[in-house]
């Protein structure tokens, strides 16, 4: 039984690309849980980390929009602007992608 499980499931996790794809899917749940239960700045830190870790993590923008849909009200200080999280993450996404192209990690 254990052997068949190993043969059936493990290659999916051990293949380099699939492993990252699984992590990517897990990251969606982590972000969703963070948006619903954690302080907003923690979600922002997570988004930053995922943007660095995953390639072209544009899903972050969708999660920011979701956060705006759930929580946003017009911000008096920004003349009634609503899409605060979306704008921050949108800029952050392109900034980090830009930085990643100009950085190399030799670990």
């Amino acid at each position: 039984m254990a052997k068949s499980l190993h043969a059936g499931v493990m290659p999916f996790f051990t293949t380099g690309m699939n492993k990252k794809a699984v992590f990517r899917i897990i990251s969606y749940f982590v972000l969703l849980a963070s948006i619903l239960s954690m302080p907003w700045w923690l979600s922002l830190v997570l988004v930053g980390a995922f943007l660095f870790y995953f390639n072209k993590y544009y899903e972050a923008v969708f999660f920011a929009l979701l956060s705006d849909i759930v929580y946003a009200t017009p911000v008096a200080k920004l003349n009634g602007f609503v899409l605060v999280s979306f704008s921050i993450v949108f800029l952050l996404t392109f900034l980090i992608e830009f930085l990643k192209k100009r950085m190399s990690f030799d670990l």
Binding site: L36, S37, M38, P39, W40, W41, L66, S67, D68, I69, V70, Y71, A72, T73, P74, V75, A76, K77, L78, G80, F81, V82, L83, V84, S85, F86, F90
Partner: protein
Amino acid sequence: MTYLRDNEKRKKRNRVFLLLIAVAFLFYYQHKIISFFSDKTALVAKPALESVSVLKEKASNGILSVFLSKSSLVAQNNGLKNELDESRAKLLDYSRLFAENSELKTLLGRNEQDKTLLASVISKPNQSPYDTIIVDVGEKNSVFAGAQVLAYGDIIIGKISEVSNDTSKATLFSSPGEEYEGMVLGKNISLKLLGRGGGNFISEFPRGVLIEQGDQVYSVGLLPHLLGTVQNISSDPRDPFQTVLVRGPINMAELRFVEIIL
């Protein structure tokens, strides 16, 4: 080769152009889009936020009880008992004054009472960068945009800014940039409070106006509600104005229930 490279460039340019158009569209219709989807997501978000709120409360209670020793619990218990006795004594006086106030208003034909609706807080201000709370009552409970929100019965904290069928979003008066009219109790000094976030307000006054630390600030109206107390007054001899910091009396992170004035 050059043709292929040009083709790639054109494709990239088109993608950027489309993206910019999508973002511009999103920004232009931001209020409509947010309120439309807010209505739809409330159905899913409400049970999720409610369960998260219950889980967080249970977890924090469980973790705290593990780390509290018996002696610290006894000390805390004694402290709370003393505080309770003190509050009871103050409440006796408050009840007498309240009855007297009601009688006077009845005599003058203005005995109006707030009709309030109890609501449970399902999302607290630290969960979003907007300084908002989400409550579990909405349009079907007759909640409307602009309704004022009270905490612990008499402390005014904000107003309802968006209502969906099952939930409502309330913006706190202390949100950055929000302005609210208040009055210093007993001195009849009217002041414009500017929200600074985290339950704090600031206000500016000419230096001649006598305001002291500990003065209570109430909302304006026939039924005034407590907004906060003066925490700090700072002034510069070169400046004809003094800056007053007013702090709300409650910790928003511990808020579980609110009342909405209907």
